[in-house]
């Protein structure tokens, strides 16, 4: 009998714990969750001192949120989870250098573009046989999973495409000589090339025109005009140019 009492008490405690764990805390429920993959310098990074999300994207979304009167909370997840999460409304928004593409528009809403980027090919400095995107057929190409760089790489006939969780792994693999080329957004590739002047170089022109947009989950359509208005006013005030100067430096 004693055992039975103990067991029922244990079950009751467990159930209460479960219920209290499942009901969300009221404070965080009101906040909009913004997903971001902080492995994409200089756009989304982790600040070394504060361990907070930092970079062009997070600074932009904080300013936009302040202007639009939104309460946001930034979440750091992998890039494929950013896209999947925002299309499944697990996150309310995402700011992660997401290129606006027609395919993505089918499942995700986008704000007006805030940045013009494009893809470029990076190779090792001693490689003279690859002078641009057209020399890549039959070569091993790397990039970050889910990015437009990988989408472009998959279009190249005969190319072997390797996807990495982080673009930094792809550049490391390129420097190790285990990849022939990396396709990534120009500002990001430029960052790695500047840091590794002796081993890496970009070749060929920027071969796509891509616009970054703030991704918004379909359930939150009411956010789009608010965010666009805030974005426009920040653009008019020169805030975007300031961010460009500060983070990308051009």
């Amino acid at each position: 009998m004693k055992k039975l009492t103990l067991l029922s008490v244990a079950v009751c405690v467990l159930i209460t714990l479960l219920i209290s764990a499942c009901s969300p805390a009221p404070s965080s429920a009101a906040k909009l969750r913004v997903a971001c993959d902080a492995t994409w310098p200089p756009f989304e990074i982790i600040n070394e001192q504060t361990k907070e999300l930092d970079g062009y994207g997070p600074e932009l979304i904080r300013a936009v949120a302040a202007r639009a009167g939104l309460d946001i909370e930034l979440v750091n997840v992998g890039f494929d989870s950013v896209l999947a999460g925002v299309s499944q409304c697990q996150y309310d928004m995402a700011v992660s250098s997401i290129t606006i593409t027609d395919d993505r528009k089918k499942t995700i809403l986008f704000s007006d573009p805030y940045y013009l980027a494009g893809q470029i090919v990076t190779v090792r400095k001693n490689n003279d046989s690859i002078t641009g995107k057209d020399d890549l057929s039959g070569k091993t190409i790397g990039g970050q999973i889910g990015t437009t760089g990988i989408i472009e790489a998959n279009k190249i006939p005969g190319a072997k495409v390797k996807t990495f969780d982080e673009v930094g792994f792809a550049f490391q693999d390129l420097m190790n000589g285990q990849l022939d080329a990396v396709i990534a957004d120009y500002p990001v590739a430029q960052g790695y090339v500047v840091k590794n002047k002796d081993t890496l170089k970009t070749v060929g022109p920027i071969f796509t025109d891509e616009y970054y947009g703030i991704a918004i989950c379909k359930k939150n359509a009411y956010l789009v005009p608010k965010i666009n208005a805030a974005l426009q006013s920040l653009k008019d005030e020169g805030f975007l140019d300031m961010l460009d100067q500060k983070w990308v430096g051009r």
Partner: protein, 275 residues
């Protein structure tokens, strides 16, 4: 009236020994494997979009996962045996080296080890090649699958060493002493007397390691090996349907692990006899 010479035919019921029918000799847990396979097949054929599309995309990933697991496991069995015997060796140097190996390797997470093997080791080798002017090392290029297998073998070999050691130590000392006094050498007694008995003891933990290895092989996806997990992520990153993708990937892993658990169970039964 029956004549006394006529042989007594035992009643039919008496020929029936409970628990000896072919049906009850079968391992009932095969039904669980069948159930999971059935659910997977149902998903694939009842909703070909998206499940069949996902399956077609991850197919080559399944092959890679199985290959990496099987090759690694065969090598792990060898490395573990060497490590286990080394741990028991009375030779100080061998003992210290194998103990160091086990202690160091099992203290570092497998994920970290894999990243080191793939991203750091090639750089070190290239650097050494440059320093010593060995052209073969200078241009060293790592194959992701090979590096992944080396990483898995290196890590699991350490765990397996401990399993072998425990198994060998569980055999009474008298067995070895008896074999040696019969004139067998140390290796003969190990090979013919101690190891065959130890294998029976360590079979369940070895089976456990195999299943753990099968699951941990998903970690190799971080070094861009296109295994089942990687392919699943790639599909989900294009189509944004993580729920369907991960459900199917989980079912596929489950089929592989449940099936291997049954095979291990079958081998255990085969090698078991009353002592």
């Amino acid at each position: 009236m029956s004549t006394p010479d006529e042989p007594q035919i035992p009643h039919k019921e008496l020929g029936h020994i409970p628990g000896a029918e072919p049906s009850s000799r079968m391992d009932v847990w095969w039904w669980l494997v069948a159930l999971v396979v059935g659910i997977t097949a149902l998903l694939l054929f009842a909703w070909p979009d998206p499940f069949m599309n996902i399956f077609k995309f991850v197919q080559d990933g399944i092959v890679i996962t199985i290959t990496v697991t099987l090759v690694s496991f065969l090598l792990v069995l060898v490395v573990g045996m060497v490590g286990g015997l080394g741990r028991l060796s009375t030779n100080r140097a061998v003992h210290i080296i194998s103990t160091l190996y086990v202690e160091l390797v099992r203290g570092v997470p497998l994920l970290v080890q894999l990243i080191i093997w793939y991203f750091a080791v090639p750089v070190m080798l290239q650097y050494l090649g440059k320093a010593w002017a060995i052209p073969a090392l200078e241009g060293f290029q790592a194959d992701p699958v090979v590096m992944a297998i080396i990483g898995l073998v290196f890590c699991y070999g350490a765990y397996m060493s401990e399993i072998y050691r425990a198994g060998i130590q569980s055999i009474p000392k008298g067995q070895m002493e008896a074999a040696r006094s019969l004139g067998m050498t140390y290796f003969q007694s190990m090979r013919h007397v101690v190891l065959p008995q130890a294998v029976r003891v360590i079979l369940p933990p070895i089976g456990n390691e195999f299943i753990a290895l099968l699951k941990d092989s998903s970690l190799v996806s971080v070094v861009a090996v296109a295994d089942l997990t990687r392919r699943g992520r790639e599909y989900a990153s294009i189509h944004f349907d993580p729920i369907e993708v991960w459900m199917l990937v989980a079912l596929l892993y489950l089929i592989m692990t449940l099936f291997s658990a049954r095979v291990v169970n079958w081998i255990e039964k085969k090698t078991k006899f009353e002592r």
